[in-house]
Amino acid sequence: MPQLAQIAEIYASQLFWLTVFFGAILVFIGYGMVPKIQKTVDLRDDKIAADLKEAEAAQKAADALEEDYRAGLDAARADAAKANAEAKATAAKKTEASLKRAETTIDKKLAAAAAELAQQREAARAELEAMAAEATQAMVQKVAGLSIDQRTATAAVKKELTHG
């Protein structure tokens, strides 16, 4: 095994060159580069953590905004509903009032019409009486040959009419 057989011959050289090259690795790479690389990694990790925190804050803010928006929307809805109800109530009241007014007008018209009707009926009745009396007078003249005056005829007719 040359590793053991050669030891006496090569140990100094092996040790020297190991010191040189491993020393170079330790100094330039181990202490020169690794801390810088690790710093970059740590910096990136910090940045990611900070960004994540920021994103979380933004998320929270967005949630709050949405909540506000929701609340605003709800309030607006409630307002709208209230206005709607009020408008409905007002409209109903107005309708009621105008209905009442129309009713009274109609009542008045109705009363007038009824009065007129009664008057006309009365007039017609009087005319009918007059005509009936005249007819009675004529009938009595023709049938009995009696001449009765208008007043008697009318009284008789009235009496008959009231009897129906």
Binding site: M1, P2, Q3, L4, Q6, I7, E9, I10, Y11, A12, S13, Q14, L15, F16, W17, L18, V20, F21, F22, A24, I25, L26, F28, I29, G30, Y31, M33, V34, P35, K36, I37, Q38, T40, V41, L43, R44, K47
Partner: protein
């Protein structure tokens, strides 16, 4: 390498000087060997890979993601095993993990196809042992610096009966002292065994093909299929061994920092 049709599966572990044979420090020979060359390659490849992760953009690209995946992997491991206090050991554990991982993987590359024999740095106890000793020394330094002599309480678990304390202390101390050995040996043995197995199977493929159509069908082809599976397994082992080394280092560091 091949002598009379024989293929030496151990040849791949031989360290040979490439240049600088005369170099020395205080009398110690330090030629630039193939081992050193593969360590250099590990440094270069790892450096290029890491540079791709240095754009440091807030929104990472694929390459940056890959590099951050590795740093995040080690940082996560340290965070779970040690806690926030372990962060200052991330550079060391990361360097350890990446050096072992890249050295393991580079040693598996079929560079011999291009005429360069791959060398697995981590298949040498002289490398893994030193890395283990560095980790062990770090644990000792951190432990004694933070807790002083109180660090020895690591060897006496909570609730040990007073009579048992000396014995338990010795057992725990022994297991503690054995840590660097097992740490270094585990990686060295895993890498060595895997590469020997691959080389032996490769020898079967080559020698079988030389023996005619029958041995080709009976020996070479099954061996080659087996090699494909074992190569995949070795890639997994390369990752797992690097992970185990880094994980155990972080666990030992946790002992040193938080005691029990």
């Amino acid at each position: 390498m091949a002598e009379g049709g024989k293929i030496d599966p151990m040849h791949q572990f031989e360290v040979q000087p490439l240049f600088g044979q005369g170099w020395e420090i205080a009398g110690y020979q330090i030629p630039f060997t193939n081992s050193a060359a593969w360590m250099a390659a590990t440094l270069v490849v790892l450096g290029v890979f890491m540079l791709g992760g240095m754009k440091r953009e807030l929104v990472p690209g694929r390459w940056q993601m890959a590099v951050e995946g590795f740093t995040g992997f080690i940082t996560g491991m340290i965070d779970t095993n040690i806690g926030k206090e372990g962060r200052k050991f991330v550079p060391y554990v990361f360097s350890l993990f990446m050096f072992i991982l890249f050295a393991n993987l580079l040693g598996l590359l079929p560079t011999a196809a291009a005429g360069v024999h791959a060398f697995t740095v981590t298949s040498h106890i002289t490398i893994t042992g030193v890395l283990a000793l560095v980790s062990f020394a770090l644990v000792l330094i951190v432990g004694f610096a933070r807790h002083g002599l109180h660090f020895f309480s690591l060897f006496v678990p909570h609730g040990t009966p007073t009579v048992m304390v000396p014995l338990i202390f010795l057992i725990e101390l022994f297991s503690f002292m054995f840590r660097p050995i097992s740490l270094g040996l585990r990686l060295f043995v895993a890498m060595t065994a895997g590469h020997i197995l691959l080389k032996v199977l490769a020898g079967f493929v080559i020698n079988g093909s030389a023996g005619g159509i029958a041995t080709l069908a009976i020996v070479s082809i099954p061996s080659f299929i087996l090699m494909i599976g074992i190569s995949m397994l070795e890639i997994l082992v390369a990752g797992i061994q690097a992970y185990v080394f880094a994980l155990l280092t972080s666990l030992y560091l946790n002992d040193a920092i938080n005691l029990h």
